[in-house]
Amino acid sequence: MFEISSKILDYFGISSDFSVIVVVLVFFVYGLFALTFASLFAGITSWYERRIAGRMQSRIGPNRVGYQGFWQWLADGLKCWFKEDIIPKDTDSVLFRIAPYFVFTGVLSTFVVIPFSPTIVGSDMNVGLVYIIAITALVVAGILMAGWASNSKWTLLGGIRSAAQMISYEIPVALSLIVVIIPAGTLSLQKIIQMQGGAPYNWFIFHNPGTFAAFFIYFTSALAEGNRTPFDLPEAESELVAGYNTEYSGMRFLFFLFAEWMNLYVIGAIATAVFLGGWRIPGIAYEVQAASLWLQFVGFIIFLIKALLLVNVIIWLRWTLPRLRIDQLMIMCYKYLIPLSVIMILLSVFFTVIYYSLPFLSLAVRIVLFILSLIVAGYFGYRVYFNIKYFPDKTYLRWMI
């Protein structure tokens, strides 16, 4: 945003006395843009997720408000806004009131470093990834606060579960990101994207076997950190009623859900930026893209498509898989994901060093990994075909109900 501010200053010839005002204004506008984007995304995803769930469960899902029920998210938001804000007796009312905003802020703050295009980014920090890992700790604080302040045993159990889970899973998230930082040599998200190519085999996910595995480790751990199924223990509705947000109602309750759906985009966006080439367009050099506004827009769309595909996968997982138990969750983190990501770091170091002396090996490994993932995608397609073919009832296969 500093670049844009300086361009505006130059364009209008504003003297340096007022430059602070302009910079603050630009950042304010960008903040509003990020908030609007995140809120719209959370709202529309809430509708989209319920529609997908409906299709998967042979039912219709919300389809009354607007075309195919598209405005359902707005209706739900309004409903929650008008509901009574109940604060139960004997709660720690201050903590109870502010806890949702901690969660909300924790997720929204990551939008500072999440890029949309080569120049449209809140702040291209040189420690961007560290910032993301650090700021999401606010979410843990908020959830623990909500669980404790509600003064209920179920919410306390939910809060403590989530604290244990989220803090544990931050380790594999950070370690799997390090795997990419080694070949990239930087922590800045924009620089990491810049170093990848537009074509799929130039992405960091195919850089070497280490990063390939690291992508899946990151994706799994990010799901767990974001409390999504199969790791949604903090709000396991069949065990803990509703977990840490049992006692909440109205707008405060909505803020938790807001944060959860915004977090979907954050998971998808970080994975896109770090592993999947971000906003790079195949065949177009970085300098050309950064100079043209149209190409930046195309890059934004490409970024969005990649992120939304990952969000889609998360939604599929949520409506397919059961939930793990708390000890199985911890075993998976400490016994499998952390040692595995450490091994991947070593692999990544090994390959990065080898590529310096054997550049042709780099291309070969990339193409092999790319073909491997195509085979996996092909198998997925075959399973979808298989399931459709052998299911007796074809009425649920219509595009829209």
Partner: protein, 380 residues
């Protein structure tokens, strides 16, 4: 005196007393568990029953014999046909009535449809308690077709009141038979396979259920477990085979027992798989029963006023939740002197109490679901 004192609950240090229920998403109705937990690990879960007690057994004493049939539907709303069947069988035994063959076949068809519907709910809600929502709704979808069939058969979708003393209330026609055949065609290879792919063989579900709350064969007999819960422990006991009633001897079917499909014999996963296999067997029974259906009367000659002679009788059927017994004492008047209902869910409560000791809170949910508890059946 508080309830905790009355129940002699001694709370130790580091323990929390959690009140699970009467309203809780996974107690499957209005049951209460007092959970003593040390963090996530439970010391014990004490069931407190009685929140749904409606005095159905007492109602029988003021109701004529035929008038009590609708009440039996309310004992177990998910498997009401079996309650009908057990009760009218008892009254028929008292009266010494021979039921026409066609009526017996219709009873078997209705009961086996009901067994599939009940198991679909049991399996679906167990999957839902473990966190998978989709299998439950797939189960509900198939059950909807069964509900349609029973609606055509007897006009009701849940509390059927289908059976009469001496037969059944309505005859079956070709339309219904076609509908049953359509359902079976879709159910037996198609749905069961999809269900197994979706949830039964899901590795997370297996991990959650295997070796959880293992009930050995001896323990199961001592707890008084019946039905799928008993068979999952490896005891081959099915009233349809061991104490044959109705026309079950004429039908060919297997009795699936727990074999320790992934872990020990009698764990929660065995109880899950045994129910899936029982649905398959029920579908096979239905196929035979529909094809062998004889012609004839559907109601025997029964006196207008039912006044059984003095005496007592115990009649039991293999319900979806195991042995469902009606003990009826007649004193020669129009009302029964006493009716005692023996249900499977009630004896499962003790098993839950003992088996919950030392497992996780998340496992308690699995245990309750795997025992297939239906709250009104516990309290009557």
């Amino acid at each position: 005196m508080t309830l905790e004192e009355r129940l002699n609950l001694v709370k130790r240090e580091n323990e929390i007393l959690l009140n699970m229920g009467p309203q809780h998403p996974s107690t499957h109705g209005v049951i209460r568990f007092i959970v003593r937990a040390d963090g996530e690990i439970m010391v014990e879960a004490l069931p407190v029953v009685g929140y749904l007690h409606r005095g159905i057994e007492k109602l029988a004493e003021q109701t004529p014999y035929t008038g009590f049939i609708p009440y039996t539907d309310r004992v177990d709303y998910l498997a009401a046909m079996f309650a009908n069947h057990a009760y009218v069988m008892g009254v028929e035994k008292l009266l010494g009535i021979e039921v026409p063959k066609r009526a017996e076949y219709l009873r078997v068809i209705a009961c086996e449809l009901n067994r599939i519907a009940s198991h679909l709910i049991a399996l679906g809600s167990m999957a839902m308690d473990i966190g998978a929502f989709t299998p439950f709704l797939h189960g509900i979808r198939e059950r909807e077709l069964i509900n349609d069939i029973t609606e055509m058969l007897c006009g009701a979708r849940l509390t059927y009141n289908y059976m009469r003393v001496g037969g059944v209330s309505k005859d079956i026609d070709d339309r219904i038979i076609k509908k049953i055949n359509d359902f079976l065609d879709r159910f037996l290879p198609g749905f069961i396979d999809e269900f197994n792919r979706l949830i039964t063989n899901n590795e997370i579900l297996v991990k959650r259920c295997v070796n959880i709350a293992t009930v050995s064969a001896d323990e199961a007999i001592n707890f008084g477990l019946v039905g799928p819960n008993l068979r999952a422990s490896g005891v081959k006991w099915d009233l349809r085979k061991n104490m044959p009633y109705s026309v079950y001897p004429e039908l060919k079917f297997e009795v699936p027992v727990g074999e320790g499909f992934r872990g020990e014999v009698g764990d929660s996963y065995d109880r899950f798989v045994v129910r899936v296999k029982e649905m398959e067997e029920s579908a096979r029974i239905l196929k035979q029963a529909v094809s062998q259906l004889p012609e004839g009367e559907i109601l025997a000659k029964v006196p207008k006023r039912i006044k059984p002679p003095k005496g007592e009788v115990y009649s039991a059927v293999e319900s979806a939740r195991g042995e469902l017994g009606y003990y009826i004492i007649s004193d020669g008047t129009e009302n029964p002197y006493r009716v005692k209902i023996r249900t499977g869910s009630f004896s499962a409560m003790k098993a839950i109490h003992i088996k919950s000791q030392g497992c996780f809170i998340a496992d308690l949910v699995v245990l309750i679901a795997s025992m297939d508890i239906v709250a009104p059946e516990i309290d009557r």
